[in-house]
Amino acid sequence: MSAIPKAADVAEAAPQASGGREGDNRPFAFRHFEPAVLKDALRQMHLIRRFEEGAEESYMRGLIHGTMHLSIGQEASAVGICLPLTDTDQITSTHRGHGHCIAKGAEVGRMFAEFFGKETGYCRGRGGSMHIADVTKGNLGANGIVGGGLPIAVGAALSMKMQKRPDVVVSFFGDGANNEGAFHEALNMASIWKLPVVFVCENNKYGMSVSTERSTAVKNIADRAVAYSMPGVTVDGNSLSDVSEASVTAIERARRGEGPTLIECKTYRHRGHSKSDRNRYRTKEEIDDWISKDPIGRFEAELIQYGIVTDGEVEGIRADVEREIAEGIEFAKNSPSPDPSDATRFVYTA
């Protein structure tokens, strides 16, 4: 976890956040979280992976129309960030949001149903992959507009503060989004008003086809935190533990009323940007290299190494996830489609 200017605040705050025994040399997550939480984090990572593979398969079988943006390879960031969140904390998500949605507690059956355009989907089939939201779990929604969620998250954080709620808001966005004006305006306002919001940049090196080197005038997105006088940290986004450490620190800071933090998770998407990507801008070597750094395998290995799970338990988790996905797809398939005569429902409340 490499700190950048102003990250001093984070470093100071960190000890408070890290629980566990004295002299415990294990990575942060293993000191800070109960084994049950860690096991569930692994389950969620598998669930995200298999959800997206299931969506891919469903797409091939013609069950899904439209496009989709898969986050395969980025699961540690979604799960690690959401670990310290409660159901009343809020998130805003992105076009690549299935991981955030699952990590924030959504059911895969209703997610598949949304993907299949069914009335039982989270958005009753009106939103699709790019708008999946489970507001009952504090997920304000994926967003089809790059950077669109950033000011909304700041508004939600203002709302929490005005209502004196203890809740915080996490805003996920991509490296590509960091060049949008919305990023600048949102971070500035969050900082001047000291709002309880954490900005999480999932830097997967590309905004669609354009690399951060070509699009962004700084090396690390977190370097931009200085421009908003907020802590900025860049972490290995494929390490569940590193991500969760940054998240715990930032969220505790936000809950204490000390204001926002910018976290950058360096990670990679294994798949193309969307279904129409012909992958002309990345090399096979680069992709393979990142596949070898797969966050799920790494976390699984750590869990086994530190004796949190056995090989057998891992198998059990995988089998459970498999069943959950299969059931979710069945549920979605068998769900009713919206009635076309209802096409203009839900435009207005009243």
């Binding site: 958005c123 939201a133 508004g155 939600a156 919305a182 949102a186």
Partner: protein, 337 residues
């Protein structure tokens, strides 16, 4: 007039004061209501609409934002999504061009995209229109843009009475409501009842009854239409004037009934004529049951096909004026089918 006003439980207030009163009432009643925008605090707003509200309600509920319209609008959307009822003031409606993403892609569509699981109880206020010598980037009338967007409601109150009542209706409304306030009207006065009352969204008002011809006018043009009607009455032309009040959803019933009565329609609006509000009024009538009652073409007097110029004579020349309305109506009223 003030005695009359008191009798009716009202007083003379300016349009700006009426808006301020509505905001104050809503903020007193409901802790979820707050207002944000540029220079609305100690400065009191570019048009002194918020005035001293910051002293009454504090800087936490009368929030000066940085100059950042896209972000500011998005903050309002996020607050509305999570339990608050924000009012967002654009300093000039022209700057809303920076915030269309949040207004149109987010505020207007979120409820629908999320399958009815959320509402966005948000009010946005847009000081609009020409006549202040502020030239092309500070004088636009963009109500037709937002009138084109499902999910929004779009209002154009023309009197202090309606400005207060429609704003209170807008704050009560669970959906995003956009209010275009003509800058020249801010100082206009009228009788305004005390306390809370609402003027319904989606209802036009027949502000002058007449037999010969209907003018549907919006915002400041209502007053010009009324002045024209007085002039025309001298010629024996009896004009009915309908104040549109709501662009979206448009009040078909009132307008259709008026045109079926008079058989002639002139639409008067300040926005650019092409694809402006009058285009919709005209098209709505031309496809309605009123079509068969039309005795003459439907005329539109809208803004010229040009940006608003700085020079004051040019500025007047590009928007409808009383004389122009009189001349157009005279011609149309005399036309035989």
């Amino acid at each position: 007039m003030s005695e009359l006003a008191n009798a009716a439980g009202g007083r003379e207030l300016s349009y700006a004061q009426a808006i301020q009163e509505a905001i104050a009432i809503a903020m007193e009643e409901d802790p979820r209501v707050f207002i944000m925008g540029e220079d609305i605090g100690v400065y009191g707003g570019a048009f002194q609409v918020t005035g001293d509200l910051v002293h009454r309600f504090g800087a936490d509920r009368v929030i000066d934002t940085p100059i950042a319209e896209l972000g500011g609008a998005g903050v309002a959307v996020g607050a509305a999504l999570t339990g608050m009822k924000p009012i967002y003031e654009f300093q000039f409606s022209d700057f809303a061009t920076l915030a269309m993403e949040q207004i149109v892609n987010q505020a207007a569509k979120l409820r629908f995209m999320l399958g009815g699981n959320v509402s966005v109880p948000l009010v946005m206020r847009f000081p609009a229109g020409s006549g202040t010598g502020a030239a092309a980037q500070h004088s636009q009338s963009l109500e037709a843009w937002l009138g084109h967007v499902p999910g929004l409601k779009v209002l154009q109150p023309s009197t202090p009475h309606d400005a207060k009542g429609m704003l209170l209706a807008a704050i009560d409304d669970p959906d995003p409501v956009m209010i275009f306030e003509h800058k020249i009207l801010y100082k206009s006065k009228g009788i305004v009842p005390e306390g809370r009352y609402t003027v319904p969204i989606g209802k036009a008002a027949v502000v002058r009854e007449g037999r010969d011809l209907t003018i549907v006018a919006s915002a400041i043009m209502v007053h010009k239409a009324l002045a024209a009607a007085e002039e025309l009455a001298k010629d024996g032309i009896d004009v009915e004037v309908v104040d549109l009040r709501t662009v979206r959803p448009m009040d078909r019933e009132t307008i259709i009934a008026s045109v079926m009565k008079t058989g002639r329609l002139v639409c008067v609006y300040e926005g650019v004529k092409t694809l402006g509000v009058g285009a919709e009024i005209s098209a709505m009538i031309a496809e309605s049951e009123a079509f068969d009652y039309l005795d003459a073409p439907i005329l539109r007097l809208g803004g010229a096909e040009a940006p608003i110029p700085y020079n004051p004579e040019l500025e007047k020349a590009v928007v409808p004026q009383v004389e122009g309305i009189v001349a157009a109506v005279r011609k149309l009223a005399r036309r035989e089918r």
